[in-house]
Symmetry: C2
Subunit: 358 residues, 2 copies
């Protein structure tokens, strides 16, 4: 059994902490460990570090290897460029097949947080059993706790079977990120779950499905497969990869496939998608304030706020629902509820060519 | 004609910029010059630097001398400790009498801002003429632009005379800082003016009035007077000064005296008493945002805010009416309208013995 951790994202919504050179998953945001270290630690009870592959971009590979000393460096797969999840997962499946002819692969985003890691392992273990037994595509759905337009949704169908304490459901439909009205209807309906981006399948199964639903992408992957390990690998792989369609596995495969299953991931999941989300999952004082990064703060008539300032004393006076993040060269002050717009700051910096802050 | 600048205050409401070692008047808050440099520059058209005295505490004298190279260092009067304005003004009057037997002294707070410095000079010039001619106590009143409980008030009586373009009024009463209801009534009444803390009188006049209304304080001042220039000065002055009553000139003298006059100070006066007041007098962009200290900022969906951050890029997202002040070791985030409470932060720091931030 293998894990594939997708570590390609940048996490611009965690600016000013996340930077081009230091994306979100390489940062210590949820604990003293970095998010990817947390992700690896979390899966280790099920899958040994020797069987954990990580897909990442060239420029972050070194930092990643340094952060994950237990993982053999041959397990770090360099993705020539970001091409969304279908290509990334396909590439990982090819690499996996070079190690073992066929096995279960658990696909994990690099940058999520999970409160109950024991339950997490139980769910994945059950999911792996269904995936092996049914040759299916298994997803983990998260019961919505609010109306969110930033996630895809999974529509649950009938119960299929029980494995240990876990119930496996058939899937009626997979939906792309909805607009607000749709999201509202999904949540009200009760059969819709957030798509966590966790997938469990055999390498052969997902490649077969890619071949069926994304034949062009599959043809590209086959060219890459031939090149892997050959003297021309370094020349061919980036050239072929560049031409691959940039499409998500959800949209490209999951929406169309018919052997899709879902387990409920009732283990305190968060995508830690923004500073708001971090406030949500953090321990708070009795006024709802969060102080992270080991700094000092004085809260005067202040509530519902999050402060990250490892070096400086921060004093807040008469503040409600604010995010304050201080780094060496930048300071973010953001109304809670607006932290999705932090990416607009990154866009503005790009426009203004203020590269040193990117 | 002489000026006496009272530079004894600390300005805790300008924390984290103002510190024990660097009080408000030594900071460049309203322009690239420090506030006391602005004060000196403003009075210079009327009074040469040789005739400007500055009263300050021992620990700030050196920084002050450095900031005011035009003023002879013999003009820096060391106040052994802070004893409110009656003692401070009395001490300055004694020093002044050592230079000239008697002359007009213009008393100025060290830390105010004035938009129209030409008008300021015209008003003081007229005030000096009344003070000389009537042997009176002349004050400058500021027409209230809002209900304020932080100022004393001057109740204007009949017009007394015109000097050039300025009208001189008799004063009906001088009022201490009122409560909100009183302040509201004062402002509604229309005859009440903010007490600017600017006073104009002859040294002999104010000493005579102190003798009349504050005989104990006067007796102390006479002991100091004897000691000045003697070998025992350094020993006697602090010992006597320590015992002087801590009382304001307004409460101790002005409220009781009957030869009090007022001119209206219609010259864009501000006491720059808080970060809020600084926002009020600062140039704003079309969303009401103020960027000071020469730093960089990105305002995303943000209005009515003030940023001081000379070094770091500051990004604001979804913010309304906030004060943000960043220094080397501390960061203040304060709701506009609450900046009077910044002194509570200073009190908290004192309580917690966090001396390095004081």
């Amino acid at each position: 059994m293998y894990a594939v951790i997708m570590a390609g994202g940048r996490g611009t919504r965690f600016w000013p902490r996340s930077r081009e050179k230091k994306p979100k998953h390489l940062l210590d945001i949820t604990s003293e460990k970095t998010i990817i270290q947390e992700t690896v630690d979390r899966i280790k009870p099920l899958i040994s570090p020797n069987n954990i592959l990580v897909v990442t971009g060239k420029k972050h590979a070194r930092a990643l290897i340094k952060q994950l000393p237990e993982i053999p460096s041959r397990n770090i797969i360099i993705e020539p460029e970001g091409k969304n999840t279908a290509a990334c997962i396909g590439l990982a499946a090819l690499h996996l097949r070079k190690i073992v002819p066929d096995d279960i692969m658990v696909v994990l985003p690099s940058d999520h947080a999970i409160a109950d890691s024991r339950k997490f392992i139980d769910v994945l273990d059950a999911a792996a059993k269904v995936a092996a037994q049914e040759d299916g595509l298994v997803t983990i759905g998260i019961k919505p706790s609010s109306i969110q337009t930033g996630f895809g949704y999974i529509e649950q169908a009938d119960s299929f079977q029980h494995i240990a304490d876990e119930e496996v459901f058939r899937v009626k439909s997979i939906r792309e990120k909805p607009d607000f009205q749709q999201a509202q209807a999904f949540v009200k309906n009760g059969n819709f779950y957030w798509n966590s981006g966790l997938f469990i399948w055999k390498a052969s199964t997902i490649l077969k499905e890619i071949a069926r639903w994304l034949p062009d992408l599959y043809a590209g992957l086959m060219k890459i497969n031939e090149a892997l390990g050959s003297p021309d690998e370094a020349a061919i792989v980036p050239r072929v990869y560049k031409k691959l369609a940039s499409i998500s596995i959800d949209y490209g495969v999951m929406e169309k496939a018919d052997n899709v299953f879902m387990l409920q991931g009732d283990f305190g999941w968060s995508d830690v998608g923004s500073w708001d989300a971090l406030w949500e999952i953090s321990a708070k004082d009795n006024k709802g304030n969060v102080l992270t990064g080991g700094g000092k703060a004085i809260f005067e008539d202040t509530e519902g706020s999050l402060v990250y300032s490892p070096k400086k004393l921060v004093a807040l006076v008469g503040i409600k629902d604010l995010i304050i993040v201080e780094t060496k060269d930048a300071l973010l002050i953001c109304k809670k509820g607006s932290s999705q717009n932090v990416k607009k700051i990154v866009e503005a910096l790009e426009e203004k060519q203020l590269k040193k802050y990117l």
